[in-house]
Structures are given as structure tokens and as C-alpha cells.
Assembly symmetry: C3
């Protein structure tokens, strides 16, 4: 009965825009996030592999009231969390899962998180996504900057989206666009909005994030962005490799120095390993495009992240190869900045400014590399971008944290 | 269908009290805040200008689940936010809007605010109302007092009302009373309740707040209250004026010293102005009644706040004449106290005590001064209260903040 | 209509498990906490005193969205709060009420509490239960430990239960089991889950808590647990007594030293008394079982808590015999630990460790002692466990808080 009513209203909505696309408002100030199940069949689209979009609500525990949007493009399944910054919870193609197993099992409603708790590490009580947006006032480790405690990786991941819309192109390839707006606002402090978009085409094994940050304020403002993109098995395993065109790599801290020689190779789950982080300055092609690749030991399965260094000039490689139970995971993290507290990044020129009314675009393409040929193609592109240019392996961290 | 059901229950309720008034419970422990639309026609009231009361719920972003009550008294429209301390979000008469445009666009659910964030400035993430209640344990700037971080302007604005009722007198002028209770309770710390009331008469261009603070505890307790009443255009503009019977005025801090000579005149939107604040001790008439007036440059449009200095002995004038986008706004703020951190106000005797089981009443009358005659009348009353008494213009702040 | 639908689904559920028990899922990730009223009659159980289980939702104020489960076992009524750590809000037998009157009148949704507020005392804004779970990462007074602010008594009481189920044995005595899972998880910090259970038998005047803590992490982890069990009149009164087999008792702090001689006797409501706390190391029988008893002056009414010192080796007696309005209450608190900040308890060997994948069981039996015979029996058991062994009355606190 309920779904019937929804269909009716969906039909009514789509009628209004039938020439170019189907458009649905899933959530807005006067519209609650009702359950929804929309299929390509309902739209009258005949595709080889039917696609669908589903909105559901979680209950119980600290996930009470959290909305999840599941997109099944016919080949790849994606779950997006409007209640948590439009983060991408997970993606999968068949039994290949992009994402990881965090000890945090719930999809936590930000209402139940104190980001200022645990000395600014409250963010860790909700961290379990494939892609967690970090920013946009700041990113990085908690600590005082200008007398204010900056909490881990900013607020974006814990801002519920204000308006969520679904847009499906009405002609092939019927690209599916899921959009949500994040408002990061505080009187006298910040007036950002982030128009997020996830795009995937039916039948594809990739998706793209297109985010547009706007400084609605009348003054320039510092900002930072980092896309915490997290993978585990079957990509991550002993002997798995990371590849990118690298201009400079350095250990994040003293601990990471020890493994610097092997920074591009992964360990299996390693008891007491905790984590090491490497700060990477990537090379890019003439247009700024670059590619980061993670693949398994055999080179038969991988993922690539394509991004533009004019938007996201640096990259953190987070190697959290501890035990499976603690979260065996690696983070591929294109960003404006590394993961130091903001006060350390100003001297590195990694705290950019966005002028009044200006916008910044952040675009990342996530591709599954489903076989050896796809992995080889990606590695070949990495080599082409590197183009024989030298890599500086800097033995010491860019920041002397011992002086803290 | 739903509204029909509501009407039935409304009718049933009203029947129970038909002799004196119509009474409706809009929200209570066993009653969710359901959507409601109640009109004078439904009540069988024949007025020249029909009035109505509407309850709606906001969705999405950080305003998920926030209730708004819209009162249209036939001439003035008012919006009250039960989820945020029964604050008055905005009011308007025709196209004259009382209120302002904060960078904070959402009506933020307190569940998503950490008042202790941003060094105690988390309150700024929700601040956008015409009248924001500040108090009642404390008001003022964040800072340590007795070893505890007092967050900006207390908790009242972020306490959802516990029980919300609507009372409409059953005979002319059919005054509309909206009531909500705020509970400010913590074991061993505080046991306050605040019975808030907003009253407006159909067809009028004014409203009154009648708040009653009760100390339910068995011990005397410090308290503070401040009614942060915020106006922008068309009242605020270059050359707009503030008037009140003034016994003493002083700059809040060193920055405000520079503009002391012009403290009663406003600038237009001024880049990099930020804010200045003036601490005012008003004169009152023999009964303690006083009046503060804000009017435009031409003196053809204004607002007045009437209050009693026995209840609210001091007044802060907040001149935030920065750019429109940053929030071009002035705050007229009757209070028990100024906006210093509580620890600074004890030596000023501005941290009163409320005895066990005692009550304190706070009443403020907000009037639109719709034309020159109304403005002149109000200014005349100000002059009458001043009654030729001297104004001390104190050149230095009451508190030496440099010693902090 | 709604209740009919519920009954249908209940019947369907019960059919699936009719051989052994009736099982109902009250709340799960895909199931909201809908209102429910289930009676023994509906189950076809013929008992002398019909029993029932009811689920309801609170609205308004800071209790918006809080679920309450009321169990009426035919003799004892119990209210459990899934939204607050499955805490036992209150219990009663006839007009004898177990529990107390806190100044906090709402059943506060954790979404509205900042545990880190008030210098780590935010917990006090929700504290009003008969049994409040404290733990499981830590218990005790707020303060820094390893550079992190530990908030008062940990997070358990403010963790909403993730999955709540009701299990009723299908044969006499038809024991009612209410279960809820608490997830206490933060990446890199903690991966605990607590399977809570409350069991009561129809017609009985007792209930039991059976909690099982699991460390799902791959590393050993410190933990602490304390069951804050709070009673007032008619048990607590001037001359009321506490009894337990005591190996050692000491004052918590200097203030408690003054009343050490009378530590087992209670005052009536005493202005400005605030609180005293005594740290008790109980004796137990050969199996570790022990008993704590609170009874009125006449010895005609009491409660007992039975627990095992292998699970909960120490006991805090909290004597908050201030005025009724401030909360006239005593806490009987079996725990792994006392109420000092965790950093003080390590040297006392009261910060135990739970190994990877290990479990710890905590079981407490709450009995109403309805008449003098029942009180005498309980006191007799206390004497039997003491078995003539000596009590060390230690005149000084175990921790020198003045050195803080």
C-alpha cells in the first residue's frame, strides 16, 4: 500500500521532467526520508541488467533513524549514508567487496557522537565506511589550533545531508546521480556548503564522486579536504601493492620510518602492527590527472582512484595492517592536505584558502580492476604519468612531531 | 484524513474547557508533535482577520525532527521552535520581517550540537533566531568558572520543550497563548524549570514573552537570563538609531571603546567590522518599566522592547554590523547580566540567586512601530522615563578582560 | 487496528518457536520500536496473576524518542529503558517503590547529553534510574587518564540497545527474559559488546540481571563495571541500615571519614549533607556468593542484592542522604572497581583486563524483602557468610585524593 502510494508520487514527479531525466526528491526540509524502492522496470527502461535504488531506515542502538540508500546498478551495489555526510558505506561487485570490516558495526547517527569526546577522537566511534569525507573546515589529527580543539578529520562525515535527490538520465547509459547537500555552518565561524554527488552508470564497475565546496561567507576562509577511501581483502593481503606516480614520499612519523623501504608493499594481518602512514606527493599529467592503484599480490584484482592534483594535490597512504579483528585496512586518501593537525600544515602550504563565494571541485573516480588486464592497464597508466621522473624518498617526516 | 482526525480530537479537547478557552496539548510525554492546522474558522470565531496555528516538522540535515509552530494572528506571523527552547525564530507583518539572516540556515536540532565544541562556542552552530533564550544556569562568553567550562549563553536555547500547549481565550480579543516548559536539570547541579509563554492577540502587531523560572531544588542557586533579541533590515540600516533611558553605558571591551561616541547609531553593512557591544544600565519608571527602541534612519519604522528592570536590570546592545552575508544584525538584549563569562559578573553583582522553590518572572513586550507616529510615541516614552536624568558614559569597560 | 496487526505478527513469530518459548523481536536494525502490549492471556497462559509486557515511546523535551518497556509480572512492575543502556528505571510491588526521585524527571535520550560537558559530569543530566549500568571501558569520577578525559561512570548508561528481544518460557513458571545488546565500539579504542538480560518470574518480587561482556577485539583490554543500584524511601529513612559480610571498609574521601563510625546506618533527609561514600570489600561464601542488604529502621522492609565476588569483587555504598528534593537516595554498587577515576584504581588492582574474545559475566539478584521474616532471613545469611571473620575498618581512604 505504502509503496504503491510512493510509486504514484514518483510517477507524478517524473512526469514533470520527462524530457531529460527522472528526478526524485528523497529528503528535503518538508519531506522525510520515506522508504523507497525504485527499479528500472518501473521507469520503463529496458536494460540488460535491471538497476534499482532503495531507501531504507536503520533502527536500534546508535544507528536509530539513519537512512541508507542502496544503489544496484545491475553489476555494482553501492550503499550511501545521507545521515553521515553522504559517505559511501560499501560497494560490491559479485562477492568482491570494496570496503572493510571496522570494529564499529553500526552506522552511527551523528546525534550519538561527541566529536569532542576522547580528546577529539570521537569520530572513531562512527568510522567504518569505504569512503569517509573528511573536512571541510579542517582535516587531520586532533589538537589545538588557534586555541580551539580541532577534532579528528573535521565534521563532514557527521553532518546529515540536508537535501537528497536522485537524478537518472532518461537516455542511455541512464547514468544514476545521487546528490546530497552538506551544510557546515556556524555563525562567525564558517559558512560552507558541499554539494555532493555520486554517479554510476548501470552495468559499470565504477563510480565517481563529484563534490563542490562553496564558501557562502563574505570572507576568505581556510579549508581542507581529504577523501578517506578504505579497502581490505580481497585487495589487501600480504604482498599486495600500492602504485602511483610519486614525486615525493615520506614517513608520516618516526614509526613509519622503519618500514619506509617497503612502503608500497603490504603486510598480511600483523599483530601489534597498528598502522603506518606515508605522505605522498603525486605526479600528474599535463592536465593534473593522476591515478593511485591498489592491487592484490597476484596483480589479478585491484582498485584505482583517479583524481586531479589541482584539486587534491597530496595523498596519504594509510597502512593499517593490524589483525582482521582490529580492522585490517588500507586508506588511499587524496587530499588538499596530509593528516597532521592543521597547525602543522600551514608551514607546508597545505592549508588552502577559499575566497568569498568561491567554489572548489573535488572529483574522484573509483574503478574496480576486475582482472589482470585491468590491473596492468592501470599500472601502465601510472608509469606513463610518472614518465621516468624521479621519486624523492625522504627519510624523515615533513613535520617534527617530537617538538609538539 | 489525518487533519480530520485531528479536528475530532481537537473538538473533543475543546469541549472539555468550553466555558473559558480552547486548550490543546501539542506535545507531551505521551503525545508526539503531530502536524496540526487550526484556524479561527474551525473554532467558530468570526474575526475581521482569521487567525491560525500550524505545527509542522522539519526534515533533513541537522534539522531532522525539529518542530515549528507557526502562529498567524491575522496580521503578524510568528514562528516558534519547541525543539529549541521555544525560541521565536522569526516574525513578520506583511513584508516587514523581524529577525535576521544568519549564516546558519537550518533550524538545528540540539541533538546535533555539541555546546562544548569549538571551545564552548558550539551554540553558534544553531544561532539564527529573532529571540534566542539565554540562560538559565548561566549566560555569557565561554570560559572556566569554578573549574567548569561554561558554554556560550547557557543551555536554554538548546533544550527541547517538554510539554507544549496552546490556549486561546474564548472571548474577544481571543488572545493566543503558546506555552512550553523547559527543564534544565542535572543531578547535584541544577533543578530549574522554565514555563515559557508567548502571547499575541489576533490582529495585533505585537507579542509578549512571559517566562517563569522556578528553582525546584532545595538550595539557593545562581541564575542568569538574557533575551537575545535580534533584528536586521528594514530596521537596521546605516543611520538607524537605538534609544532607551540610559543611566550608564560602557563599552564591552577595548574594541567597543573606539565607537563609543556613536554607540546609539548604526553603520550600514561594514566589511571587517565584526561587532561591538555596549553595556547599558537603563533607567525605568517608578514601577521598573522601561523601553528600548530601534528605528530606521527616517524614524518611520521601528521596534520596541518593553521590560521591567526589577526582572531584567541590565541590557546589552550588540552591534554586529558586518556584511549582510556574515549576518548584519543588532541584538537588543535585556538581561539579569551582561555577556561576560559568569566569573566576571559576580563582582558586578550581576549573578543573582534564586532561593529554593522560588520563582522569577521575565516579561518582554515586542512591538512593531509601523509608522513615524508609532516611533515618535515610543521615543517620547523613552524621554519621559529618562526624565532629564543624567547618563554616565563610562569610557572604559566594566571588566578588564586583558587580565584574563 | 494497530494492536491487531501487532498481535498477528506476534502470533506468527511465536508459532515459529512454540516448542520451547515465545520469542519476540522488539527492536532490531530493520525493526523500529513499535508500541506493543502483550499479555499472558494473549499467550493462552493461565496464571493466578496475569502478566504483561508493554513497549511505549516517550515524547517531548530531552526524552523525545525514548523507548520504555514495562513488565508487569503480576506482582512486580518493572520499567526498562532500551534507549539508555537497558537500565532499570524503576520497579514496584504495590505501593512499595524501588528506585528514587531524582531532580532529573525526564528519561533523557542520550542524543541530548554531552557526557564530556560539565567537565565530564554530563552523565548527571540523565541520572535517575533504579539500576544504572556503569562501564564498561571505565567507571568512576571524571578525570584525565593517559591524557584522555574519562567521563563519569563510562558510557554504558547512554548507549541505546541495538537489538531488544523478549523471551518467555513456554512452561511454568513462564520466566520473562528481556534482552538487549549494547555495543561499545570505537575504532582502535574498544570493541565491547554487552548482552544484557533481565529475568523475572510471574508472581515473584525479584528480578535478576545477567550481563555478559565480550571483548570482540583481538587484544586484551582494561574494563570496569559497576551496577549503580539506587534506593530511597520506604527502604531509606533515618535509622535504616545497611548490612553485608564485610572484610574491609574505608571512607572514599576525607569527608566520609567523619561518619565512618556510623557507616552502616542512615540519616534522614539532611540539609547540606550532600553525600558520603564507603568502599567495601565484601566477604563471600566458598562459591563467591555474597549478599548486601538495605532495610528500614524497623527491619520490616528491605531489599537485597546477591552477587558473586569473583565477578564483582568490591562494593561502594553511596549515602546521598541530602533532602528529598535534591535526591534522597543510597546507592548499593557492586563493581569490579570503586568510584575513583581509573588512574587511581590501577595501583589498587581494580582495573581488570579482559582478553581477546573473552567474556565476563555479571549477575545480580534483586530481591524485595517484604516483611520482617524476609529481612531477618537475609541478615541471617549475611551473618552466615561473615562467619565470624573480622572486619577491618580502615580509617583513611585507599586513595590520597589531596595529591591530585
Amino acid at each position: 500500500m505504502k509503496s504503491l502510494k510512493l510509486l504514484v508520487s514518483l510517477a507524478a514527479l517524473s512526469a514533470a521532467s520527462h524530457a531529460m531525466a527522472w528526478d526524485y526528491v528523497l529528503l528535503d526540509s518538508d519531506k522525510a526520508a520515506d522508504n523507497l524502492h525504485l527499479t528500472s522496470q518501473q521507469l520503463g527502461v529496458k536494460t540488460e541488467r535491471p538497476f534499482s535504488v532503495t531507501l531504507r531506515t536503520l533502527h536500534g542502538g546508535r544507528q536509530e533513524g539513519v537512512s541508507i540508500i542502496d544503489i544496484d546498478n545491475g553489476v555494482m551495489k553501492l550503499s550511501v549514508v545521507p545521515t553521515r555526510g553522504m559517505n559511501v558505506l560499501q560497494a560490491s561487485v559479485g562477492d568482491v567487496r570494496l570496503g572493510w570490516d571496522s570494529p564499529v558495526k553500526e552506522v552511527v547517527n551523528p546525534a550519538f557522537i561527541e566529536l569532542n569526546g576522547r580528546g577529539g577522537l570521537g569520530w572513531l566511534e562512527g568510522f567504518n565506511e569505504l569512503v569517509t569525507r573528511c573536512g571541510y573546515e579542517w582535516v587531520g589529527h586532533p589538537g589545538l589550533d588557534n586555541g580551539e580543539l580541532l577534532t579528528l578529520h573535521g565534521r563532514a562525515a557527521n553532518i546529515p545531508a540536508s537535501k537528497v535527490t536522485l537524478h537518472i538520465d532518461e537516455k542511455p547509459p541512464y547514468a544514476i546521480h545521487l546528490r546530497g547537500e552538506l551544510k557546515e555552518q556556524a555563525f562567525k565561524k564558517v559558512d560552507f556548503s558541499v554539494a555532493t554527488e555520486l554517479v554510476t552508470e548501470p552495468g559499470s564497475t565504477s563510480f565517481t564522486l563529484n563534490d563542490r565546496l562553496t564558501n557562502n561567507g563574505d570572507y576568505p576562509k581556510e579549508y581542507q579536504a581529504l577523501y578517506h577511501s578504505n579497502f581490505s581483502t580481497p585487495f589487501l593481503e600480504q604482498g599486495a601493492k600500492f602504485a602511483a606516480p610519486v614525486k615525493q614520499v615520506s614517513p608520516f612519523n618516526d614509526k613509519a620510518k622503519a618500514d619506509l623501504a617497503d612502503w608500497q608493499t603490504y603486510r598480511g594481518p600483523t599483530r601489534d602492527y597498528d598502522e603506518t602512514v606515508y605522505n605522498v606527493v603525486p605526479y600528474a599529467d599535463a592536465k593534473g590527472e593522476t591515478l593511485a592503484v591498489l592491487h592484490n599480490k597476484a596483480g589479478s584484482l585491484g582498485v584505482s582512484l583517479g583524481f586531479n592534483t589541482q584539486q587534491l594535490p597530496v595523498f596519504s597512504l594509510w597502512k593499517n595492517t593490524d589483525t582482521q579483528g582490529q580492522g585490517y585496512v588500507t586508506g588511499l586518501e587524496p587530499g588538499t592536505s596530509f593528516s597532521y593537525n592543521r597547525r602543522y600544515q600551514r608551514p607546508l602550504n597545505l592549508v588552502p584558502t577559499i575566497g568569498a563565494k568561491e567554489q572548489r571541485q573535488f572529483q574522484i573516480r573509483y574503478n574496480l580492476l576486475a582482472d589482470k588486464a585491468a590491473v596492468d592497464d592501470a599500472l601502465s597508466l601510472v608509469g606513463k604519468i610518472q614518465d621516468g621522473r624521479q621519486t624523492e624518498v625522504r627519510p624523515t617526516p615533513l613535520v617534527d612531531l617530537s617538538k609538539e
